[in-house]
């Protein structure tokens, strides 16, 4: 079993291998588990082969798949769940990395990010970030179904116009770490900004899978956050069409058509009505239990 290519380093280098959701070369099963798969699979194949029955055949097939999974490192179930267990070393969670180039000088971009209270302006999943003293911040993030996550964080490292790094303190709802790298883009194009976030949702494999399915903080979300970061710094505002006028949409049109087709007053005067319904007014007498 070949070693897995090194993941992104702390340096802001080009040419890093960014594993896809399916893993580099689709390898998504970690080493130890691959051994277990090979051993377990071999045993099952042996068992199924000797059995020579329907049950044995089942063991043969399953064992065969486990063997393949162990030898190749590719698991269809993990792939379907969108989980790459191979990229996890001890206790890593969801890794998200995005880069954007902002047409502003490095110092301006660095200072804007350094003031963490600016982050909710472009990071939609963050409700607030408050400065709580030197190097200390309190974060509130929103999740589906009105749930909020809160945590305290400390600044781990700061290199002026190069790097800001922070991590959540023990007791956080969701352990997380973040780093932002700043570098001048070539020939006056502005500043390259690379953000790396790691979230450790509770609950192991199932937690990660659950989080991936329902977690608002996906790679696409962060990509949009970084796009908004660029828009705020360059254009001074985030482009929007929310609140603009528009005509009747398809659902409204359906409603209109339905109402036109629904006959009014199907109940005739004198009918006794057991419960009040819209169509019964005013043609009938009031309902019995009025």
């Amino acid at each position: 079993m070949a070693g897995i290519p090194t993941l992104v380093t702390d340096d802001f280098t080009y040419g890093e291998i960014i594993p896809t959701e399916n893993g580099v070369g689709n390898v998504n099963v970690p080493s130890a588990e691959r051994w277990a798969s090979v051993i377990g699979g071999s045993l099952m194949v042996l068992f199924g082969w000797t059995r020579r029955s329907l049950v044995g055949f089942f063991f043969l097939l399953s064992g065969g798949y486990l063997l393949y999974r162990g030898l190749s490192g590719k698991c269809a179930l993990y792939k379907a769940m969108g989980v790459n267990m191979a990229e996890r070393n001890e206790g890593t969670g969801l890794n998200i990395e995005k880069t954007v180039t902002v047409n502003k000088p490095v110092a301006e971009v660095y200072q804007f990010w350094r003031n963490f209270e600016n982050l909710p302006r472009f990071m939609q999943h963050l409700a607030t970030v408050q400065l709580n003293g030197p190097g200390r911040t309190h974060w509130v993030a929103s999740a589906p179904a009105g749930i909020t996550f809160e945590w305290d964080a400390e600044t781990v490292e700061e290199r002026e116009n190069e790097l800001i790094s922070w991590q959540s303190l023990p007791g956080a709802d969701v352990d997380n770490r973040g780093s932002v790298y700043f570098r001048e883009a070539p020939a006056g194009r502005g500043t390259e900004v690379k953000v790396k976030l790691e979230y450790y949702p509770p609950g192991g494999v199932a937690g990660v899978a659950f989080a991936k399915l329902f977690n608002k903080v996906t790679a696409q979300q962060i990509k949009e956050d970084m796009r908004r970061f660029k828009q705020v710094l360059e254009a001074g505002e985030i482009p929007t069409t929310e609140g603009q006028p528009h005509g009747e949409d398809a659902m409204e049109e359906e409603e209109h058509v339905k109402r036109r087709q629904k006959p009014l007053h199907t109940i005739k005067k004198g009918d006794v009505v057991d419960e009040a319904v819209w169509e019964s007014f005013p043609a009938s007498d009031p309902p019995a239990n009025w």
Binding site: N103, E234, A235, E237, P239, T240, P245, G247, E253
Partner: protein, 391 residues
Amino acid sequence: MKALCWCGKNNVQIEEVPDPQILNPRDAIIQVTLTAICGSDLHLYNGQIPTMQRGDILGHEFMGRVVEVGSQVKNLKKDDRVVVPFTIACGHCFFCQQNLWSLCDNSNPNAWMTEALYGFSGSGLFGYSHMMGGYAGGQAEYVRVPFADIGPVKVQDDLTDDQVLFLSDIFPTGYMAAENCNIKPGDTVAVWGCGPVGQFAIKSAYLLGAERVIAIDRYPGRLKMAENYGKAEVFNYEEVNVVETLKEMTGGRGPDACIDAVGMEAHHTGMVGPYDKVKQSVYLETDRPHALRQAIQACRKGGTVSIPGVYGGFIDKVPMGAAFSKGLTFKMGQTHVHNYLQPLLRHIEQDDIDPSFVITHRMSLEGAPKGYEIFKENKDTCMKVVLEPCL
């Protein structure tokens, strides 16, 4: 207010909708005094452009009076008379600063949609599907203009609406198409498509120093306008072999530059036509590139193919071998309108051109659904339909 809404294929209707509001500090609200139906609006009408939703307000060629400005708009005030570019640009990103305004990074709130298809998103456009921003358009009584401190150009009262409206789109589009041909003294430019953009491309080619302009279409009325007003040499592609004719007309050399002002809904009479139509109807091919194929075949070696005609998706059977072997240069894209507003306004002021020549039909905003029908079906006598919301 009244606005023209897209309601499905071949279905646009005037509906009563709320007035637009200032949503961002760099917005302005314009009361529309004149607007037009564009050839590319027909792609929307024909259902060729994805991400349209029922109720979307159309229209990207419009002008009018400022009624309200956002807090960050210092260059405009109430009652200023402005023409608005159809491309929306922030003015501060890399592309805007390179004068590539239609490639603005920051004006498409739905950039993620376009990125899925194209890799990167260009600027937002007025009234042209959610993929291009989903902005409510100007075929309405009022319209909200984002980044109003960068886009709209003020025009003096001594020029009529008819004369300046087309600064919003088709005049700069034709001009940029001609400019992209890199015209040198003695050059012959061939233009496919004698619709409004083609007409402006013909005029612009002469303004930029072309020796001869040859125009190609199948509608006699359009060919006549290209000949009489544009001073182009014209022929009908249904009557002759296009590539051979162009060769003979240019001493055997071929045109130095070819402009495809037709785009993705090209028509063709020969055998390839049904091929494209069938493939398009089963979504194996989204665009019909017939004018483009001819332009590539006809262009002289080392020449330029300039493409203002809109393409949205994928094309099939393009003679890339011919293009490579002849060393052709391709220039294309949505118009960088902001570059051309002042220079072309000066041409109008100096009487070098009166853009109102393309207007053949005028109606109130309420007449717009009829206007779309006329524009789509009656191509011979209908060149450009303008709509007056105040009529």
